[in-house]
Symmetry: D3
Amino acid sequence: MTGPIVVINPNSNPAVTDGLSAAVEPFRAAVPVECVTLEEGPFGIESQRDVDQVALPLAAMIERRPDAAAFVIACYSDPGIDLCRATAKVPVFGIQESGVLSALALGDRFGVLAIAEASIRRHIRYLRRMGVEGRLAGERALNMTVDESARSGDALARLTEVGRALIADGADVLILGCTGMSRHRAALQAALGRPVVDPTQAAVAMAMGVVLA
Amino acid sequence: MTGPIVVINPNSNPAVTDGLSAAVEPFRAAVPVECVTLEEGPFGIESQRDVDQVALPLAAMIERRPDAAAFVIACYSDPGIDLCRATAKVPVFGIQESGVLSALALGDRFGVLAIAEASIRRHIRYLRRMGVEGRLAGERALNMTVDESARSGDALARLTEVGRALIADGADVLILGCTGMSRHRAALQAALGRPVVDPTQAAVAMAMGVVLA
Amino acid sequence: MTGPIVVINPNSNPAVTDGLSAAVEPFRAAVPVECVTLEEGPFGIESQRDVDQVALPLAAMIERRPDAAAFVIACYSDPGIDLCRATAKVPVFGIQESGVLSALALGDRFGVLAIAEASIRRHIRYLRRMGVEGRLAGERALNMTVDESARSGDALARLTEVGRALIADGADVLILGCTGMSRHRAALQAALGRPVVDPTQAAVAMAMGVVLA
Amino acid sequence: MTGPIVVINPNSNPAVTDGLSAAVEPFRAAVPVECVTLEEGPFGIESQRDVDQVALPLAAMIERRPDAAAFVIACYSDPGIDLCRATAKVPVFGIQESGVLSALALGDRFGVLAIAEASIRRHIRYLRRMGVEGRLAGERALNMTVDESARSGDALARLTEVGRALIADGADVLILGCTGMSRHRAALQAALGRPVVDPTQAAVAMAMGVVLA
Amino acid sequence: MTGPIVVINPNSNPAVTDGLSAAVEPFRAAVPVECVTLEEGPFGIESQRDVDQVALPLAAMIERRPDAAAFVIACYSDPGIDLCRATAKVPVFGIQESGVLSALALGDRFGVLAIAEASIRRHIRYLRRMGVEGRLAGERALNMTVDESARSGDALARLTEVGRALIADGADVLILGCTGMSRHRAALQAALGRPVVDPTQAAVAMAMGVVLA
Amino acid sequence: MTGPIVVINPNSNPAVTDGLSAAVEPFRAAVPVECVTLEEGPFGIESQRDVDQVALPLAAMIERRPDAAAFVIACYSDPGIDLCRATAKVPVFGIQESGVLSALALGDRFGVLAIAEASIRRHIRYLRRMGVEGRLAGERALNMTVDESARSGDALARLTEVGRALIADGADVLILGCTGMSRHRAALQAALGRPVVDPTQAAVAMAMGVVLA
């Protein structure tokens, strides 16, 4: 039988891993999906340093899992994606890349809800590297920490407000630019009346496409 | 529970529908996937007229299936995609679009194996409309009919030859630009040593991502 | 002698055909220009369904006119353009394409006055397919029906207001994104102090360039 | 009545002006078209110096012709185009720009037959400035002087050979990248089986579109 | 030893040349840098005519300086750049081009402070020709004359105001789109907290890179 | 006085640092330039792992040098560039970025001489991220190790051969895609008759532009 899709949370916050596991639960009927925590990672990935410091530990974890059928790097900055791909013998999916590619099938222009202002430039450079920035309507920050966004009772209200601003920017489809907002996806989609993509779910779906083919 | 992903074969050749059904079989553990034939369609979709004449019948079929959770239009020209999207209340995936987006996660530049020379210009216009033509390494024709490609014992040899030419053009990942070559996917991937995307499988995987989210 | 340029109104409203005929009147000194109504068309082309349903009837009309020296498809959505080109033995001009190409010779960035919000996404996809979206300053909707825009006494005031907004967006040249506004072209150009392109006239001029060469 | 379209030959070779006049003859049924020689120009425009030295004399000629309804600058390098536009109160068309825009309506990718290797870089920069280089299939030099190309009995054979190379590069439509080859246009089009655009005719047609509107 | 970098002020205002000389003073420790006035130039370069009329005199000056190791054309419109390059046997740097290229190393998106509204379209066309317009955040005019901008005591306040608007447009780095504002560079950079590029200094630095290599 | 430009060799091979120091020697008349070895680095940077593992040590070295006026990361993969910029209080230049930007001022299209085939995809992604890939004529590998390229007596012959192939691809200017080939720059430029950019020199020149401004 095929091995599992291994979803790696590159931060060391187990609550985030639990959230990922809940988000991908519906996919487990089709393939085993295992969510693991990178214990060497920082508690949250916010700065460029956080991004760069997890590249080698992620590659090491990939080497420890020769049984995996595919990997998902579950942080919206797609940390270490090039090294993980150079290391793995199976496909590796970054959630920013997968989220954006999936959104391109759901609307003409996409908007991104980022956690923090500081990450937007990094994301835009990545979109330009992907060659798809021509279809970006805008990216706007929620200006909450990863942790706050996962816990705050006000998160949905803030997501809806920023989502509406992105729709005014021209977005037909929205992407949650973070791993901690999955549980708000359906409610936000209902509130906005536009598709909302959870990038971890998008990446797992793409990985399934390869694993099940 | 959720309704099925309905994969519509826009041509009236039931052997093609059977091939689609075999290609998506592995995904049925996760969601119901139903493959249907558009009986009003031509026996194969080769010309621009073939493409345009199925748009309204496809939309009519979509209206007859309010139970569907998502639709896949299973012809590499993505016929009627705009009308199908305007008609459906659920997401609609075209296999060219889905195949290309999926390939973008598996390599830097992609190559396409088209059935016939005549369809390449149409495909390129579509890539430009998608805004991703900057990542196309090349598209080359097998110069076989849809029917031949599905039946010919020599198909794999021809696919391998054209695939190697695309790799020489710079392709890291290949896309089968047709619905009739699914059963050669794994063998071609092994022969070329590069990922090979079956676009119908890619579209069903993307549809699953939405349906299961 | 050369045959006529045949301008096809893809909707069945003869008043629109009359308007087209008036708009192209000045060109008749050089070549015969015949304006015909597609009787199978809807009364106006507003939805994606309207666009798709006229493709085959347009091709059929093209086949009935082997005497034509060139064809112009006179609806700003350029319905059936690919099929018409595959069918005709002579050049076929879409008015959106011709209007945009002509505008590119009259200013650095262009703005489009669309009839309705709903058609803007369709137009933008078409510009991206053309590969010229980098020169679009903006497209804004008049939010009038085709019929209203042709008849309303207030049309010029509304056109001027939207045209000024497009100039503020950066447009040097404006395009009437519809067939029903030709008679306002000169007045709008005077009011705005910028070139205003009637796309049907632009397409007939391009067709003349080929026919007379 | 409307004034003439004034076509300016920026070189001082009257034989070239005569060729222009013959090329635009068919358009005179619709509007007066006058072809004039810039006597201050060099005998042929080949180098960057030739291009730059005619800018001011072209603007001076424009000022001497307040009766013109439009101007065409009839050299494929579009010399002085920005200054001519800043000077004229009526539209000014460059033949490279007009030829390329017209070609975009006749095929998906275009090829250019240049007189000399040395001008290709200049043309490519101009296409990039226009924002349409994504649709260039290729530009290839005939490697003849302006004068040779106008007179040589072998010109058609050479044009056909280079045209075929451009078609192999992917061109659907060809542009004569010079003013001196107009009389070969029809024969070349017949030989290649693809549309061939004479850029002076294209520019006059676009000018007519504005003048007659 | 190597010859000097010759910085040519294409206008005939010696105060501007003096300003250039002050701006490049710090570079003279490494290489001789000579600043010269083009006496045939207009007193300021503001219109397209001003731009075009200096091309030939600039080339003539280049021919008079066979001792130069490199040339810098010190006007933000990069007048005559193509002819100067075709004429010189050594590298020629335009300050717009150099300023933009240098800015691309200092931030993701750049903003330009132009002297006058009328020059912005010209600059944008040039950025498109360079192929880097995708990284432009915006260009905004100070709406002062060249002379005013050099003398006005209020210049810094106005620069700061326009610079802040460009930062709000998304600029990470600013470019002084003129030669007369060099002495405000450091103060503006301090006021805005973002890198500010003086394009003449950028061009001389690039020239040094070639001369000293 | 200003502090030094600190050029960091991210590999631990002191011979490479010595080569860098020789390459930047001519610039020391203007500003102090110090070349240092990252002792934690691998002996050569060839793989993606090599690239990623030096990011944090580079940032640590930057923190140890608060006296620096600017930094240059002297490896053509621009390892750790984002983190170095987030860490430093002064500008940081990557040599790939600086080499490419400098080449854009010396020719219309550039070619890159890479050490190894495996690094080309990485470089292309970086060019796309920069938004300048439209001006790449081609990148070709020498297929020598970093060490071989620095020592081999045959290096110039191989460089010339690959440089000629890039010129045939359309390159007007060449970039040495490595730090170990600086001493061949002048000879290669003479052999090819086109500008050849040493990226370390280009980066130091750009850094000087900022430091001396």
